[in-house]
Amino acid sequence: MKRIAVTGIGVVSPVGIGREAFWAGLTAGRSGIGPITLFDASSFPVRIGGEVKGFDAAAIEARFPEARGCRDRKILLALGAAEEAIADARLTPAELRHALLCVGMGLESICLEDLTRYAQAANLGRAMAERAAGGHNDRWMQTPLDRTAQILGSRYGLLGGRITNCSACAAGTQVIGEAWQAIRRGQADMALVGAADSMLNPLGLGGFSLLRVLSAENDCPARACRPFDATRQGTVLGEGAAFLVLEPLARAIARGAKVYAEVLGYGSSLDAFAVSDPEPTGRGAVESMRRALRSAALPPSAVDCVSAHGTGTPKNDIVETAAVKEALGSRAYEIPVHSVKSMTGHMIAASGAVEAAAAALTLATGTVPPTINLDQRDPLCDLDYAACRARPFSGTTILSNSFGFGGQNATIILRKASDD
């Protein structure tokens, strides 16, 4: 089987724009969560989120004219991250041309501003149809989820196939796993793979706040997301994007590329339980991790670190802790299990890709980012969560989990790059 390397990373996140700023923010334990500024959320029950601060959308639109007028923020975040990953991998256009493009996307953008204009019409659908038929189609009401893939594919002339995966919070991890499988079986030469999401809009934030999975600690945003802490009250929505370049290790070495890490395994599973809650025994999560371990041909004892899904919801953290212990056995107690979301918030579809980037950087730099805001240990969460401070890491293998709304689970395994 081919060994698959990560040779390019691009990140746009609440703790920093660009790979280096992102990593500096994570390892410093800096929270990216603050009051919502992207729209007037003052009347919403939840008014905090992990916004990407200082993101220059106009600059992205200038470099990607196809995205001009696009009112779907996650597309712009994706383009920024993909651009950085491609530059980081130092690929020529010819080398990139046959790349498989795999993009994870979350909630489809629906333009409430446009819809509201027709709210008083006796028949909203007909009112909108009259406008659309009149040729006023410069502002799409719904942006199809494959728009990012279309823009990236056209810009870079990618011919290796395009996949848009919309498996909610598992999408970012699933696309990496699917790209890894495709390269390994020889279906693709290389892949540009990543995910993006932004739920920080009225419909996204409002809808999720109704589900009572969000922390409403609006007065202390930096401490609102407390995975594994006994006082945690829910997760915090974030936004972001990350892209990776994957290619066969042999090819990466031959062209002198920087190798951050290898992707070693992938697994996915379904809870088949409920759309909002994880299966209480963690059965689906365990299956996802075990499938990833099997595909990597690794025993549980080979795992040196877990990048947890770690949302900070009361249910997730207990179930994930139990599942990690079930899947890894005694090894679970010997290794750090950390949550990137404690700093970024929950970036939904983007989470898995951003956390995979963090895992690759953990292996490349020898530092595990912390789980911040973890001051009071929940007795049911009894692992080593790398609380509050980053720490040195000498291990070689990281397992990264993503568990989605609706019960979709995905796990990837990354290993430190080596010549052997």
């Binding site: 409430l112 509201t116 799409w140 594919g153 498996s167 109704l210 009572r212 379904l270 609706g406």
Partner: protein, 407 residues
């Protein structure tokens, strides 16, 4: 690599839910196209709804149905029909599956015998289209949020509208929900993925299942897709995206439809061993990615060439009435030796060529699964070894075709 057999088919289409019935009606020339409620002003005069659909008839009147959008209900019913058609159920039924046995079809009724697969060994791959949020739901939300001048008032949204909408709204918008409900109802717990939003992305879901079975990752996969392009907002969205443009220039074009199709795929030997009916085996699939519309002729010819289907294979064409796509598809097949005469009469079903979308409308994300399902039924009526091609071309960049063989 294991041979992959299609052993179960579940359809919910504007021409019925029984696979044989839908194919018969297509072959008889019946069409489910009806006048569109939005024409005028939209130029597209037709749409293809599934009439009198009642999910409770198949799933029982379970409270979970109230959490589900129409696309999720269509998908869940189609998946259940496919499982029953295959005589399969997961080794252990989920609590919700047990609670929903009151429908017209009992779980496992068709063939409760034989080896049943552990839930973790049953994969689920599917596709969904543009958000299925329906007009009535969004209308209420924006009416509550409108300022006197008609603009969106976020203060009203937060203070009034949010308090009056149902908490399940997010579950009706998330694109992965139809597949999640399928997993919950059928207790499928294996590898999975959800793809969006066009015909080729639906084909990717089928391909993922074929790969998972052929490579031995799982012995069984449930694959399919669903879409609802019949409510007002979907019709407007298609108009805005230019999908219906040809109706302005010509007298034909894409007719938006709705429905769902799911297939049960199994390792052929194992399926035969358990006495399952094998509709067809999946011989090959071929892919192409069209970076732009001008690439399409070359891409479709490449797909056709890589598929390696004999010129006399039965074909389910992907053309949906949109003239440009029909012409490109015809040219690709003609270049490969398919009789052009039969291709030049788009409203006519020649003996060796069917055009399901001319009868059912275009189910977009669900279209590939419908094409392959109908191809499998057609194959099952032929002599062993007869090749049947399911073209899965369409909007978006990804173009695919599958070659099936009669069992």
């Amino acid at each position: 690599m294991a041979e992959v057999a299609i052993t179960g088919i579940g359809l919910v289409t504007p021409l019925g839910c029984a696979p044989g019935e839908a194919l018969d009606r297509i072959q008889r020339g019946e069409k489910a196209l009806r006048p569109s409620p939005l024409s005028p002003p939209l130029a597209c005069p037709l749409f293809a709804p599934v009439m009198d659909f009642d999910a409770a008839r198949y799933l029982g009147d379970h409270k979970t149905l109230r959490l589900m959008n129409r696309d999720a209900q269509l998908a869940t019913v189609a998946a259940r029909l496919a499982m029953q058609d295959a005589g399969l159920r997961a080794e252990e039924a989920s609590p919700i599956a047990q609670a929903t046995c009151r429908g017209d079809f009992e779980i496992g009724d068709a063939c409760p015998r034989g080896p049943l697969y552990p839930p973790e060994e049953m994969a689920l791959y599917g596709s969904t289209g543009l958000s299925g949020i329906a007009t009535e739901e969004i209308t209420r939300l924006v009416r509550e949020s409108a300022a006197p001048d008609g603009s969106l008032d976020l203060r009203r949204f937060g203070e009034t509208a949010l308090r009056r909408i149902r908490p399940v709204l997010s579950f009706k918008i998330l694109a992965n929900m139809p597949l999640c409900f399928v997993s919950i109802f059928e207790n499928l717990r294996g590898p999975n993925g959800v793809y969006a939003p066009w015909e080729g992305n639906g084909a990717q879901a089928v391909a993922a299942g074929v790969r998972a079975v052929s490579e031995g990752e799982v012995p069984c996969a449930v694959v399919g897709g669903c879409d609802v392009k019949t409510h007002d907002l979907a019709l407007v969205a298609l108009e805005q995206l230019g999908v219906l443009d040809s109706w302005r220039r010509e007298v034909s074009g894409t007719v938006p439809g709705e429905g769902a199709a799911f297939l049960v795929l199994e390792e052929r030997d194992q399926a035969v061993q358990r006495g399952a009916r094998v509709y067809a085996t999946v011989r090959r699939q071929a892919w192409g990615s069209a970076a732009s519309e001008s690439d399409l002729p070359l891409v479709l010819r490449g797909v056709r060439s890589r598929l390696g289907a004999p010129p006399d294979a039965l074909v389910l064409a992907a053309g949906d009435g949109e003239p440009a796509m029909r012409n490109v598809e015809c040219a690709a097949m003609a270049a490969d030796g398919v009789l052009v005469d039969e291709l030049e009469h788009p409203s006519h079903n020649a003996p060796t060529l069917l055009r399901p979308k001319m009868h059912l409308g275009n189910l977009f994300a669900g279209a590939a699964a419908v094409q392959i399902a109908l191809a499998a039924v057609l194959a099952a009526r032929q002599a062993s070894g007869t090749p049947v091609v399911a073209n899965c071309h369409g909007h978006g960049t990804e173009q695919a075709a599958f070659l099936l063989e009669a069992a």
